[in-house]
């Protein structure tokens, strides 16, 4: 008769392994609204149809009940800016009361003392704040809001002072390339986690203007990752190879452990694409999940899978969803990823030559 105290990470690792085998969803990204107080030029949500009717509080609660009954454990609430929803604290409190691990993804701008106190009361497990620059003028260019850096920095401190787990995250772009190491140091000085993503996502409607305008060169992105996370690249670190498989299209949690929900109650593969948009209000969460699994199964057994005989596969981060946005088809090579894979291969070969 014992209570085992298990480290959260260890527990999740084993939980997700078992869930993936059994294809039971464990992790959900829940977009509560597309409304946002920032106007980030690189926002991937641009292009989504925003004319729908947001889920009511009652509908959100009903979806949470269904997710609980299916054994979902992690829910990340996002947007738009989720804090713009008037019922956000009711939603967070309800999710917690149903035994979910909750995360809130926010731009931080709306967090004042009162909001920080409420977030503490609803005991959210983690808050991710988007933080793309330490320079006020760049920050404002990337948010479209005056004095936003000062406000967001203050928000982060309010959360930290209350003992709330905070993570800051940046998208590496040509506008902030010189600051990413400093942002990493800023996070370390606050003793919080920093997450750098060196990919600018295309908009969901396929528009890649932001990718073209703001993306870093792949080699530069690789160097920046090393500079931001030196401990990950030091010593005899075993090089991580791409885990992509040749026998199936999806190598992520899609159709296995995860999905996303839109503010209008549609279920999608993930946050990056508006697909397949199964209607939860009509079919229920379980009905939509079963449909997603069948859809993924059909895609996974596609004939002439584009990566099947490609010799770049071990260097490639190709994603079927990204290909869908870029080309309108899942089973198609993406120029974006191909170029990155070619560069990665060259870097690896140069590294080997240096070692020899």
């Amino acid at each position: 008769m014992a209570i085992d105290t298990v480290k959260r990470k260890k527990f999740f690792k084993s939980l997700f392994k078992r869930a993936a085998k059994a294809r039971r969803p464990r992790s959900v990204m829940f977009e509560l609204t597309y409304r946002c107080n920032f106007k980030c030029p690189h926002c991937y949500v641009e292009g989504s149809d925003k004319s729908g009717k947001e889920l009511t509080t009652r509908q959100v609660f009903s979806i949470l009940d269904q997710l609980r009954d299916m054994g979902v454990f992690n829910i990340a609430f996002t947007g738009g800016e989720a804090l713009l929803r008037k019922d956000i604290f009711d939603v967070l409190a309800y999710a917690k009361s149903q035994g979910f691990q909750t995360a809130l993804l926010s731009n931080g701008y709306l967090i004042n003392k009162d909001v920080a106190d409420k977030l503490l009361r609803v005991n959210v497990n983690k808050i991710d704040i988007t933080f793309n620059s330490l320079k006020p003028e760049i920050f404002e260019k990337l948010t479209g809001v005056k004095d936003s850096l000062k406000k967001v920095k203050a928000s982060i401190k309010l959360l930290i002072n209350r003992g709330i787990n905070v993570k800051i995250k940046s998208t590496g772009m040509n506008l902030n390339r010189d600051e990413l190491v400093s942002i990493g140091k800023f996070a370390r000085s606050l003793n919080i986690i920093y997450n750098l993503d060196t990919e600018v996502l295309p908009c969901r409607n396929g528009c890649a203007t932001a990718v073209l305008d703001y993306s870093l060169d792949p080699d530069e992105a690789a160097e920046l990752r090393k500079a931001v996370y030196p401990e990950m690249f030091s010593g005899n670190r075993k090089r991580t190879r791409s885990k992509r498989k040749r026998d199936r299209m999806f190598n992520c949690g899609v159709g296995k452990t995860s999905f996303s929900i839109t503010p209008y109650g549609k279920m999608n593969f993930c946050l990056e694409i508006d697909y397949p948009e199964y209607d939860i209000l009509k079919h229920g969460v379980k009905g939509c999940w079963n449909r997603i699994k069948r859809r993924v199964d059909r895609l996974n057994i596609a004939r002439n899978f584009v990566c099947e005989s490609c010799d770049l596969i071990k260097y490639c981060g190709w994603c079927a969803g990204r290909s869908y946005i870029e080309t309108g088809e899942f089973n198609k090579c993406s120029e974006y990823f191909k170029e990155r894979a070619i560069r990665a291969k060259k870097r690896r070969e140069a590294e080997w030559t240096r070692k020899k």
């Binding site: 959260r8 464990r26 609980r68 009361s97």
Partner: protein, 93 residues
């Protein structure tokens, strides 16, 4: 162990069963505690289900001894330890 004592589950703890594991999710934890998950083994989850706010610890002990066909003395010792653990994470009142 006060055998006449009636204990109930705290409203601040949610029980979930995921992938065959019974998990206790305290609603109010410090950020340090958020790094840990509390899981119950089979006998512990049976015992946990008996904390209904009506049964005494003696009732719980007898029920477990009967279910698992174990000497009452052994169950009493383990139950006392379990109650201590539950109290430490504020799972019972």
């Amino acid at each position: 162990m006060d055998e006449k004592k009636v204990m109930r589950k705290s409203d601040d703890v949610v029980t979930r069963e995921i992938e065959g594991k019974v998990i206790l999710m305290p609603l109010h934890k410090s950020s340090k505690d958020l790094n840990y998950i509390y899981t119950l083994n089979e006998t512990a989850s049976s015992a946990w289900n008996l904390f209904d706010g009506k049964s005494t610890l003696n009732d719980i002990k007898n029920s477990l001894a009967e279910t698992y066909d174990v000497a009452e003395g052994k169950v009493e010792k383990e139950l006392a330890e379990f109650v201590k653990d539950l109290k430490s994470i504020k799972a019972v009142l």
